[in-house]
């Protein structure tokens, strides 16, 4: 066949159509990816190892509900070792290798701060995290990042409000000498003053291996009725409470989200006795065993029973897992809304949809309908630990601050 100009153009057009057609078909991706960095090794490996299985559960249940507009989702997780730069590299790798990455879940305040200025244009994704750092809940500065609950400042507000409601007049703040520990202090001081509560002690400790007797002695000297512990995960806070009880102090101890895990409290009780009895703390979410009128929790429980048989997750979802699940459910809801509105699944559209969430009946996480205000949900309530039943049970109504 002689190649004429006409036949060349016709062949070219046919070839373009043949090559282009799959591109058009490809406009609907085969999957959407929810990436994550988790501390599966390093100082917070316990938390990361417990959260990882929850992601698979989230994926399976979301896909049972049709993914996003019929397109299934896939979750991925990579280890960060709790090093912000590693998590940043994980995020960049996910951007480079996952074509349809629509959401990312970070594992530390440090990572969220490090990545925030990078979230521009094509590199931006809607991003939840394990952090409740107050600084992150700032739509102007960090439009694509959000907290799936109250910030640490909000949690202090809730605890101080509870102290005021109980007629308390003095409080001590004991915190780890970390960014995490210091986060809500300033706000706490101001709020305590507003509520007429005197802050009689502000004591900084090491995040690990603190000099417990010294701190307990200072607490005894301050004679505080309540003591709020902030900035600890698995260690120090139980030792401080144990030390205070041995000292005979009647001080009531309170914690925030990361110091409220039942698995830790149970282990401490089993190993060292019932001194955590009466320990109070703020928790944004209902514990997984509190599944009455909580269809989402019931569904989780059903899945856990079969998928996680023989592991601690068979009958209980740790609070750390609940936090990740809640964050991802919020992200999924926002992305579904964007899809339903016929818009592209960009971080900007997703953030806009997320900000519009009002009076959400979470089906389990929160005991009341909640709203996303200023990229956070400022709702939580106080729970109390019983060493006899090994359960945290509600000690207040839900507060929204």
């Amino acid at each position: 066949m002689t190649l004429t100009r006409r036949s060349f153009l016709a062949t070219g057009a046919a070839a373009s159509a043949a090559i282009g057609t799959p591109m058009i078909v490809k406009a609907q991706p085969s999957e959407y990816v929810f990436g994550s960095s988790l501390p599966m090794t390093g100082p917070f490996a316990t938390a990361g190892q417990l959260v990882a299985p929850a992601l698979k559960m989230f994926e399976d249940l979301a896909n049972e509900d049709g993914g996003i507009g019929g397109v299934p989702i896939r979750t991925t997780a990579e280890d960060s070792g709790y090093v912000p730069q590693n998590a940043l590299a994980n995020y960049q790798r996910a951007l480079a290798t996952e074509e349809n990455l629509v959401y990312y879940y970070g594992d530390s305040t440090g990572f969220m701060k490090l990545v925030a200025p990078e979230l521009k244009g094509e590199n931006a994704r809607l991003m939840g995290s394990t952090s409740f750092a107050s600084e992150l809940a700032n739509p102007e500065k960090n439009p694509y990042q959000y907290l799936a609950g109250p910030s640490y400042e909000d949690q202090f507000d809730i605890l101080l409000q509870n102290i005021a409601n109980q007629g308390g007049s003095t409080v001590a703040f004991i915190y780890s000498n970390t960014e995490f520990g210091r986060d809500p202090l300033e706000r706490g001081r101001a709020r305590a003053e507003e509520l007429g509560i005197e802050v009689v002690l502000e004591e900084s400790t090491k995040a690990q291996g603190a000099d417990v007797p010294t701190h307990v002695t200072k607490l005894a000297q301050s004679n505080a009725e309540y003591c709020i512990l902030q900035g600890y995960v698995t260690g120090v806070w139980p030792q401080l409470i144990g030390g205070a009880r041995q000292f005979g102090l009647p001080t009531k101890f309170m914690g925030t989200f990361w110091g409220m895990e039942k698995l830790i409290a149970d282990r401490v009780t089993a190993e060292s006795g019932p001194f955590l009895d009466g320990y109070l703390g703020v928790m944004p979410y209902r514990y997984s065993y509190d599944a009455e009128n909580a269809p989402r929790y019931a569904r989780y429980a059903e899945y856990q029973k079969t998928a996680f048989a023989g592991t601690p997750l068979e009958t209980y979802m740790p609070t750390w897992g609940l936090q990740s699940l809640c964050a991802m459910e919020l992200g999924l809801m926002a992305l579904r809304q964007v899809h339903d509105e016929g818009k592209e699944l960009t971080a900007e559209n997703a953030a806009e949809a997320l900000a519009s969430i009002q009076d959400w009946d979470s089906g389990g996480f929160f005991g009341v309908p909640v709203s996303m205000e200023g990229n956070k949900i400022g709702t939580g309530r106080v729970y109390e630990y019983s060493a006899e039943t090994n359960l945290f049970t509600p000690a207040s109504d839900w507060f929204t601050v």
Binding site: S36, Q49, A52, D79, A89, R93, G110, P117, D183
Partner: protein, 355 residues
């Protein structure tokens, strides 16, 4: 049979690249870097930048430990000083100095301040050696981080919560992407390596080596220990300061925890794995320390499809694999990867007469 490179004059022996293979390698490396800047994806650029920043700091540690024989476990402090100097300078002179000039002043200033701190930290090196010096320098790391974290300086350093860093602007060229930063980091990385290679052709560099090999013999030969040990610390700290300045420009935020003991140990580990007292040692070391964990992670990621449940089980294995790799290197090639590469290249050069 080829037994070496013929050098017919002293000048030939003095050349930075004393044989054609080295020259070819150098130009090929420049081409590869240019190719990366143009074609590599964002992830590769990110990892390359991390390697470049670390490379400059490891080269600094190599000067003081590899060449001069003074063990330091506190070099992360100099990186921190460089990073915070740049950030503080930008905060202090915003609006006073034109944007396009800021980085051109801030980078040399960061180097100068780190040099000064390096001289102060190096003072104990005049009295103590070996493990005692390691402990003395270690304390420098803790002191610098302690000062950065103090609330009293938080206005400048951000305290515990860290501080946002500026975007560098070189005479109107805003380096606001990782790719643009890669160009700067790669250029300074290459210059650093060349400068250090050159340093050890000079009287100063040879004095360092003499001190490393036997300090009292060096002193008897007329080398002032006071002067050269402090010079070594100063040059080493200056390079770490440069690395810190780039660190601040590269990451959008710096946190004190990024400059703690772990970084100092990483610098020393990279130097040992790569090859102490060799110009290319830090390059090999950084390749292992930064790239190998990424490669292992990518291999595991491909093997498992990134499934969270599997990743959860394999994450500790990645750490073990990386640890094993380092141990095997130290067992079978204690002189570092550089030595391994040397042997391979020598065999290639003399093939088929030698293996």
């Amino acid at each position: 049979m080829i037994t070496g490179n013929l050098k017919a004059s002293y000048a030939a022996d003095e050349r930075v690249f004393d044989n054609p293979n080295k020259r070819a390698f150098f130009y090929a490396s420049l081409l590869a870097l240019a190719g990366m800047a143009a074609f590599a994806n964002d992830y590769v650029i990110l990892v390359a930048c991390q390697m470049g920043i670390l490379l400059i700091a490891v080269t600094g540690v190599n000067v003081v430990t590899g060449y001069t024989g003074l063990i330091s476990l506190g070099h992360a402090a100099f990186v921190a000083v460089g990073a915070y100097t740049v950030t503080i300078f930008h905060t202090a002179f915003a609006g006073t100095i034109p944007d396009g000039m800021m980085a051109l002043i801030a980078i040399p200033l960061a180097v100068a301040v780190s040099t000064l701190v390096g001289i102060i930290v190096g003072l104990p090196a005049l009295r103590v050696k070996g493990l005692y010096l390691a402990v003395a320098t270690l304390s420098a790391n803790f002191i610098v981080i302690f000062l950065i974290e103090q609330e009293a300086f938080a206005r400048w350093t951000g305290g515990m919560v860290g501080i946002d860093t500026p975007v560098p602007n070189l005479l109107g060229w805003q380096l606001d992407t990782k790719r643009e930063m890669f160009v700067l980091i790669a250029a300074l990385g290459v210059i650093t390596l060349l400068a250090v290679q050159n340093l050890f052709r000079t009287r100063v560099g040879r004095a360092f080596i003499a001190i490393r090999d036997r300090d009292y013999s060096a002193e008897i030969m007329g080398i002032s220990l006071l002067r050269y040990k402090l010079t070594s610390f100063a040059i080493s700290a200056a390079l770490c300061g440069l690395s810190g300045a780039l660190f601040a420009y590269f990451y959008a935020r710096i946190l004190p925890e990024q400059f703690e003991l772990a970084l100092s140990l990483e610098l020393v580990a990279a130097m040992i794995v790569g090859g102490m007292g060799r110009t290319m040692g830090p390059v090999f070391g950084v390749l292992v320390i930064v790239m190998v964990p990424e490669v292992i992670k990518s291999i595991f990621g491909v093997a498992t499809g990134g499934v969270a449940g599997v990743a959860q089980l394999l994450a500790p294995l990645q750490e073990i694999a990386f640890g094993l790799l380092i141990v095997l290197f130290l067992l079978f090639e204690p002189l570092g990867l550089n030595h391994m590469a040397d042997r391979a290249l020598r065999a290639l050069n003399r093939w088929p007469f030698a293996r």
